[in-house]
């Protein structure tokens, strides 16, 4: 717990300054979780605002301060679902936003070393997002919470209010699907998938970039 129970109780009873302190304590962590759940930095703040807005108007329904964190994560998961479902309904905007995002990243980094590192990170993000895109929104959120955020099955059981065994089965199936997608990416020669997660990824990335550049120039010609 990042804050004590007494502060949550005060926020629950309508103390706005206590609520302010609770948000300030949790916002960075929640924004990080949202960033990894939705994979689009430009929308993280909006989803975060929605989470805390929902928290404010539902805090009186919280039974005890002890279950505050699972409650907050449930709100986060629900807001992320809603966002991902909305995005699914308009895939064309997503494509345009991705290029915008890349431009934003390219503009942000100045030095070549920093740029290389940022490029590598962007590739990792894109690969992870592409793999997560192969499963349903529910499985995607579940996988990120378990595998990336490192939440335990017990914590996930509290967040989802379901049996841990049911979660285990669902996670196993989702992971299998992602593994298959990773194999397919590797077979297709995706540089991030073949290099993926290796310490010497940068040299392979350079080679891959050269290949991509060659392919694109070949394609254009």
């Amino acid at each position: 717990m990042l804050v004590d129970f007494e502060l949550i109780e005060r926020a629950r009873s309508g103390d706005d300054s206590a609520f302010n302190q609770v948000v300030q304590a949790y916002r960075k962590r929640i924004l990080g979780t949202i960033a990894r759940l939705i994979g689009r930095p430009e929308d993280v703040e909006d989803v975060g605002q929605e989470v805390f807005l929902r928290l404010y108007f539902s805090l009186d329904q919280l039974r005890t301060a002890e279950v505050f964190e699972p409650w907050l994560y449930r709100l986060t998961v629900n807001a992320a679902y809603d966002y991902l479902r909305r995005q699914k309904r308009r895939p064309e905007s997503r494509m345009s936003d991705v290029s915008e995002q890349q431009v934003m990243y390219a503009d942000a980094v100045a030095g070549s070393k920093v740029r290389d590192e940022e490029e590598r990170r962007t590739k990792i993000r894109e690969l992870a997002q592409s793999l997560l895109g192969k499963v349903s929104e529910e499985d995607r959120v579940l996988l990120v919470l378990k595998e990336v955020e490192g939440r335990t099955l017990k914590e996930l059981g509290q967040i989802y209010k379901v049996n841990e065994n049911a979660l285990k089965v669902r996670l196993f199936r989702a992971r299998q699907r992602v593994l298959k997608a990773l194999q397919a990416e590797e077979a297709a020669g995706n540089p991030a998938a073949t290099a993926g997660a290796n310490a010497d990824a940068s040299s392979e990335d350079e080679a891959a970039e050269e290949n991509t550049a060659g392919e694109s120039s070949g394609g254009a010609g």
Binding site: N20, V23, Q24, R27, K28, R29, L31, G32, A35, R36, G39, P41, V44, E45, G48, Q49, F52, L53, Y56, F57, R121, T122, I124, R125, L127, A128, L131, E147, V148, E149, R175, V178, L179, L182, Q183, G196, A197, N198
Partner: protein, 106 residues
């Protein structure tokens, strides 16, 4: 498959590092409070509107009862005559009954 499992685990770790917790924008809290106020006012407006509708419906119902239902109920009154007339009418019936029963005795 173990190799792929390891690769996927490593990818998740790298993804975690590639997506660090972002710093909230400086206007995060003011923006949040603006939205809270907006929704609060929105809720108050809904309740106010609901109350207005209820008051208007009550007034309309009262007027309807006053203008239509009450005159109709009054028109359908069972005792239209005065008290004396009703009493006289009852006596006439009683005399007639007495007359009939007296005839039988004779």
């Amino acid at each position: 498959m173990d190799r792929m499992d390891d690769k996927l685990d490593a990818l998740w770790v790298e993804y975690r590092q590639a997506c660090p917790d972002p710093d909230p924008a400086p206007d995060f809290m003011p923006r949040l409070w603006r939205q809270i106020e907006k929704r609060r006012n929105g809720n108050a407006r809904v309740f106010r509107r609901l109350a207005q509708v209820c008051v208007m419906a009550t007034v309309a119902l009262t007027l309807l009862m006053g203008a239509v239902l009450i005159p109709r109920i009054q028109a359908e009154a069972f005792f239209a005559g005065t008290y004396a007339e009703e009493l006289a009418a009852e006596h006439i019936n009683a005399d007639y009954t007495d007359f009939l029963t007296a005839g039988d005795q004779r």
